[in-house]
């Protein structure tokens, strides 16, 4: 069980979830619309917050997160079943891959375990996750500019 502090929820979880969902849309070359994206982000963050309150072993809430994100893509953001599945796997996978590389490096440099990092003060816990979020946001922005959304045209 992990009760996420409000500061982390606002300054880490919401941007993280926003990036997960927008990344999924960008790689599928779908137009990123702010309102449905924000709605899906808020629902997904709430679901993730509640999942973390459950007495589950670490890692299982990430799998619940994959399911939630898949449902958001499928039900709110208008992707079809296969696109939602691929986007959910790639988005969460990219996030965890960046955490594994960047966050682990920071933890290694600071001599902290993941449990220690989560037990830091709310602000420290939030800030320690920003570097990989900044890298991911930059990647999102780069791909957003590079992969233009598909248009439907007549042949």
């Amino acid at each position: 069980m992990d009760k996420v502090p409000l500061i982390s929820l606002i300054f880490y979880s919401i941007p993280e979830c926003f990036l997960i969902l927008s990344f999924g849309l960008i790689i599928q070359r779908k137009k990123v619309r702010f309102s449905p994206l924000l709605l899906a982000t808020l629902i997904s963050v709430s679901a993730s917050y509640l999942a973390r309150l459950l007495p589950l072993p670490y890692g299982l809430h990430t799998l619940i997160g994959v399911l939630t994100v898949f449902l958001m893509f499928f039900l709110i953001l208008g992707l079809d079943f296969k696109q939602s599945l691929v986007s959910a796997i790639i988005s969460i996978g990219t996030l965890v891959a960046l955490e594994n590389v960047i966050l682990n490096y920071i933890q290694y440099k600071l001599g902290l375990g993941l449990k220690d990092a989560m037990a830091l003060s709310p602000w420290q816990r939030t800030i320690i996750g920003w570097p990989h979020l900044i890298v991911w946001a930059s990647l999102n922005l780069y791909l957003y500019n590079r992969l233009k959304p598909h248009q439907v045209v007549e042949r």
Binding site: R29, P57, Y58, G59, T62, L63, V66, K82, L85, V86, I89, I90, I92, G93, T94, V96, A97, L98, E99, N100, V101, N104, Y105, Q107, Y108, G111, L112, G113, L114, K115, D116, K148, H150, Q151, V152, V153, E154, R155
Partner: protein, 288 residues
């Protein structure tokens, strides 16, 4: 070679499934690495190397995914190019045949004119004009499968004393359904119409095949000169196994409806005009 190696894999969508499974396994590995990191007291160099390796592995999996999508696009593009070459070759063959026919007609005309039979030459020319118009309409159809079905049916029906009149007011540029579906839909409808036409006591048995283009769909009409169909039969004709012609029959229209359902098409029968009305949506393509 590429087609032999990857054709069936791409066509059946196996590549997508393999890639999704591959990415899922990588995701589970990533989460596993995070969980190991969570339960170890302090992040050491081995943890860092392990989780970095898993992260890099996932990035490589993404590159593989991207590569497979590009390869799939390349494969589809090459298939489209091969199809378009096939269409062009087929159109060229039709034109060669037409040219050969024209030379024959010209020779006959030349003979008639040389003999001073002007009236006969005019009559012959009108006859040539009507048959050329029908062939010209076939050439207008961009879909080779539909063109072949119509050409074959026209010839077969002529041998049975039934005239197939074709009126196509569209090039069918956005008509891109499976070839097997084209055969199922139009062969069954024309065969049905031919059987109905034969039942009538007409001097000339006729089937009309019309194609009309609308903003989002194509409308195909098959009209025969057969006797009227009772209301009760018309209401049940799409049921599988229902036939007024005997046992082990009555599957054609049911198959037509099934083939149409696969391409989001619809079929309706108007008993007053004896018209089968087939609606098939235009196929749209997404581009960058």
């Amino acid at each position: 070679m590429v087609n032999i190696m990857f054709g069936s894999v791409f066509e059946r969508g196996h590549m997508n499934k393999i890639t999704i499974v591959f990415l899922s396994v990588n995701l589970v590995l990533l989460i596993g690495a995070r969980a190991i990191n969570y339960y170890s007291n302090q992040t050491n160099i081995m943890d860092l190397l392990f989780s970095t390796a898993i992260g890099v592995n996932f990035i490589l999996a993404l590159f593989f995914y991207s590569w497979s999508i590009r390869f799939q696009s390349f494969y589809i593009e090459s298939q489209m190019q091969m199809n378009s070459i096939y269409y062009m070759e087929e159109a060229l063959n039709t034109m060669r045949g037409e040219r050969h026919e024209f030379i024959n007609h010209l020779q006959v005309m030349q003979g008639l004119i040389a003999e001073g039979k002007g009236q006969e030459a005019t009559g012959y020319l009108k006859n040539v004009e009507s048959s050329t118009l029908a062939n010209g309409q076939f050439l207008n159809v961009n879909n080779p499968y539909l063109r072949t079905v119509l050409q074959n049916k026209k010839q077969a029906l002529l041998e049975q004393g039934i005239e197939l009149t074709i009126n196509i007011s569209s090039k069918l540029d956005f008509f891109d359904i499976k070839p097997a579906a084209i055969t199922t839909i139009f062969t069954n409808l024309i065969d049905n119409a031919a059987e109905a036409a034969k039942l009538a006591d007409n001097e000339v048995n006729e089937i009309r095949f019309e194609v009309h283009e609308f903003e989002n769909c194509y409308c195909f009409l098959v009209i025969d000169s057969g006797p009227p169909i009772p209301q009760e039969t018309a209401g049940r004709m799409f049921e599988s196994g229902f036939s007024t012609k005997g046992d082990d029959r009555g599957y054609g229209l049911s198959l037509v409806r099934q083939a149409l359902a696969e391409c989001r098409g619809k079929i309706a029968f108007d008993p007053d005009t004896k018209t089968f009305n087939v609606i098939i949506p235009k196929q749209m393509l997404t581009i960058d």
